[in-house]
Amino acid sequence: MKKNSHTKIIDVQGISKVFTLHERDSTQVSGFSDVHFSVNRGELLALTGVSGAGKSSILKSIYRTYLVQSGKILFHRSDKSVVDLATCTESQVLQLRKREIGFVTQFLKILPRISALQAVAAPLMETGVSEQTSLYLAADLLSRLGIREELFHISPLTFSGGEQQRVNIARGIIAPKDLILLDEPTASLDEQSSDRVLSLLEDLKEKGIAMIGIFHDRKKIKRAADKTYELTRKNNEKPFPTILEAA
């Protein structure tokens, strides 16, 4: 029995995003428009659609790295309060990012002078867990994802693409969160590594953690996702990327 299943965690209501490029004569480029979906605790929603359909932009908008022009992104906190991620204050977003909303980006972005173990342990230490415990849990997670122990003390920027991606996933999920956004978590992984990642995601779902992920492989979607949201030209008014108007 999944914990907290059927309680909504996020409700995206009609969000739209347009980029205005002031450096290019204020050209407007549509990111996505009128997107609706909701996710319950313990569920994984897969975002699908062709490249350029706006999948990553939606994840970034939920994380507030992108600002949306219209619509609401209602986040239901565990204390039953509801915040609109599209309009709440920056300080509120920072608080939510610390404990409630996590983001596994497509590519690892860290400083070159940090080891794999430190990179993974850091988000946990930020929540107040001791350094020793954090490093121990980080090593455990990296081993589970199939990273060789001899690599633990080396900068992950020297790793292969697939290894970097796994370090990035470990870094994104080590600290407990209620909602995790995953931007193509298995894109550059071989069959075996991908399997490890998917089984880890299944464990997270069992713990009641909700996820929104971008996936391309139908088999992986079938295995991991509870539902899918397909970005097509139908639920967006125009094909993508579209230049709406040039001022």
Partner: protein
């Protein structure tokens, strides 16, 4: 909120009364066309929460450093209010620290807020040793026992990864990077709630810059103070800050999460700035 800046302005020159309306980003100038006064800061409001790190970016002359100096009261604001750390006056009303009694202002400057300057001559007294500089601030924050002061200074010198045997050397005998480390030790010796940094690593070579920024970040996580950091280097801003303020012509043109400012900049000037990253 730890710090609330409300409608603060700084005008150099005898204001004609309409300087604020006639300058700023929408007019594309900081000099009043009527009276030729320079409006360095034009009605700026912003807040910083506990443990938050705010970055200020903008071109030279946009008023970044002036804003820090107004908060630290190195310069006197022409108008506006600043509230800090829930401080109240005798009537239990929120205290505007810009109008606070001198004793309160010096307590704020000596203990609760610290400033690290780009130019070490502004942050350090070159007639005192490294230890003396740190001791000066520990004494200013209220400690009077010699042993405690000496112990505190040695602890900090050790923390900034410097040989404690150098405690009695004078600032001019240290390298530029070491002088910035001593400024950091001095600034943090009073356990401030807010640390203001004005281009702390500009002019240092990149390896020293990286080590100093890492040290600042570690100390912030250990000690848990808020920071406002002025830099023209978006790399520094990206590395250190949570929230970024973009300034131009003495006004704030954009305020947002640092990743949003860098990845989805809204204002034309911010877009120009971000597109100029090497």
């Amino acid at each position: 909120m730890l710090l609330e800046v409300q409608d603060v302005s700084k005008i150099y020159g005898a204001s004609c009364g309409s300087c604020l309306e006639l300058t700023g980003e929408e007019h594309g100038r900081a000099i009043c066309p009527v009276c030729a006064s320079v409006v360095a800061i034009n009605s700026i409001s912003l807040t910083t929460g506990k443990d938050e790190i705010l970055g200020i970016v903008g071109e030279s002359g946009s008023g970044k450093s002036t804003l820090l100096q107004l908060i630290y009261q190195d310069r006197i604001a022409s108008s506006g209010k600043i509230f800090f750390n829930g401080r109240t006056d005798e009537q239990k009303q929120p205290l505007n620290i810009l109008k606070a009694p001198p004793a309160t202002v010096s307590h704020l400057r000596n203990k609760e807020m610290s400033m690290i300057y780009q130019n070490p001559h502004l942050g350090l007294n070159f007639l005192f040793s490294a230890g003396g500089n740190i001791a000066e601030r520990i004494i200013g924050a209220g400690e009077r026992r010699y042993e405690e002061i000496r112990k505190g200074a040695l602890g900090l010198i050790n923390r900034i990864e410097m040989e404690t045997s150098r405690i009695d050397d004078y600032p001019e005998d240290f390298s530029g990077g070491q002088q910035q480390r001593i400024q950091i030790a001095k600034a943090l010796s009073s356990s401030p709630k807010l640390l203001l940094l004005d281009e702390p690593t500009t002019g240092l070579d990149v390896s020293v810059q990286a080590k100093i920024l890492d040290l600042i970040k570690e100390l912030q996580q250990e000690m848990g103070f808020s920071m406002i950091i002025v830099s023209h280097d978006l790399g520094v801003i990206n590395h250190l800050t949570d929230i970024t303020v973009v300034m131009k012509h003495g006004t704030v043109v954009e305020y947002g999460l640092t990743d949003q400012i860098l990845e989805d900049p809204q204002h034309p000037y911010t877009q120009l700035l971000v597109s100029s990253i090497l």
